[in-house]
Symmetry: C2
Subunit: 365 residues, 2 copies
Amino acid sequence: MENFNFKAYSEMIFGKGQITNLPEVISRYGKNILLAYGGGSIKRNGIYDSVKKLLKDYNIIELDKIEPNPKIETVRRGVKLCKENNIDVILAVGGGSTIDCAKVVAAGAFYDGDPWDLVTNPEKIDKVLPIVTILTLAATGSEMNGNAVISKMDTNEKLGTASVNMKPQVSILDPEYLYTLPSIQTAAGTADIMSHVFESYFKKTEGAFVQDKFSEGLLETCIKYCPIALKDPTNYEARANLMWASSMALNGLCGSGKPGAWTCHPIEHELSAFYDITHGVGLAIVTPRWMRYILSENTVDKFVDYAINVWKLEPKEDKFALANEAIDLTEKFFKDCGIPMTLKEVNIDETHFDEMAKGAVNMVL
Amino acid sequence: MENFNFKAYSEMIFGKGQITNLPEVISRYGKNILLAYGGGSIKRNGIYDSVKKLLKDYNIIELDKIEPNPKIETVRRGVKLCKENNIDVILAVGGGSTIDCAKVVAAGAFYDGDPWDLVTNPEKIDKVLPIVTILTLAATGSEMNGNAVISKMDTNEKLGTASVNMKPQVSILDPEYLYTLPSIQTAAGTADIMSHVFESYFKKTEGAFVQDKFSEGLLETCIKYCPIALKDPTNYEARANLMWASSMALNGLCGSGKPGAWTCHPIEHELSAFYDITHGVGLAIVTPRWMRYILSENTVDKFVDYAINVWKLEPKEDKFALANEAIDLTEKFFKDCGIPMTLKEVNIDETHFDEMAKGAVNMVL
């Protein structure tokens, strides 16, 4: 286990009906709210109306139409609204894209230059407006960390930035908000959660046993509950465990003490930057191929752990056979969840492979 | 899974040599430090000298001789020192007892009455001095939560109090500080960690799968690494995993969404209140007996999970046989770690049983 610093200070208010705490939470920060949200699903499922009703005594300015892979133009629009309206707090209602966008807007509100600088140079992030989130998708973990991923389509760049100051102050997680998700979002979100865990779990650091046990537990959670949520979308237990797994997968619990670069995420970010596909779908496609690629004498023991502890396979003498069985089950799991599992199915061909490969490597360096 | 609020905001600075961050950490709060510590082990192992050297530019007032079950008299002494010396921050160097004492001192510094009020009425805890800890024992989890247990021996009371405001701001965890622990402290500390997990794990709440997986992972960590640390006290990996498990076992990860009273802790607190025994030893003695007592048709399935997922026993048809096997292994584990496993061995007889039983039940109510 390597040295680390763990700070997960976001207050997580979890459970059905917890949105009633919103007025008290917002009152901690001020009167002027920037309400950030996406394409309008929160209008269809009633969350938008609940928020407006609960916050009727506040001044609300809206930043709407945040894209699934949020664009720097939207961030700029949000920063302008903050500066023009003396915003005190940003309320992000949505999934990871909305929350990521809100984070860079919150940092941009105190930055004089173009907010894209805050994406390419995270050290420029200083003071940040307080961020409160209401989560509507179990996937990115953005509700409990300081990370944000922003796209700049004119240069095919999709880059991550991070700052401890961008961690949400408070996140409200109501599993019932996941009931109306399209199946593909439930599945792709689960793939995203699992990928966050994989990125840490398969790192080379030895002896981070606590972290690896947490990782295996979260993977088991995804494997157990995603199929239930797909079959029975209003199953509270399934939604609750997936939602909590989302926050736990990328708040430092699994990655602390295991430093080093990620792999599948940089590769997938290239796919999304060039083709604007759903992040979790890209990850699901990349992951089993990446697993087969890295399987070697050096990594096989970790795959054996994965096979036995996560997939509950019986130990066997041929370690590689066991490892491959676990990888095959991973691929089958994503497929059974309804995720398209080839690049062809998401209309990606070889055209930009070289360029994307360079981009992915640059991102890691 | 029941609704919950999770807030684990303590910054955890983990790993070898991390004490070098102490001056920067302390500088966030002010110049006047109350240095709280116990019986002098930190003088023997060099931590005291390191702290004094690193903080040579600060004003340090000392609160020493904090007892293993910290007494209210010591808290009063600390509060007096804070008020007389304009203390800005309390630096607690030690295990749970030192940190618990520091917490109530920190709250008492802003309270006009007797600090025992803050133990009997936690709602009286308001403003609290910032607390920084340097942990020297893996056991109570006090380094990452707002709990404190204080004893009043003249009335045989050992009571817990809690406030989110008493959570340490920063905790520095260096696994190497555990190298010189007496074996019984390593073993009793591990029993304490496991007991914190058991208290949540065996609650009746259904469907808190993530929490239960975390719990099982922490139990596996204790079972794997305590014997290694006992045999090879300078094994870094063992010490690091036990130390991190201590913080994770009682910061809300295992208990969130699983409300309800604890059982073994209130019973053990009575043993300590009357006989001043080591907390972890009392817990180890009580736990397997309590497990056998609660084993029933209602609880057997949870014990089957415990048997299979934690002790890696083979599933078998007779669920009660499997459950009892797991309980027997729990008792054997504590015994093999060198913990005296009968009340007789720690000089406790039946004299106060009735009184203690009433006290334990009152505590739960």
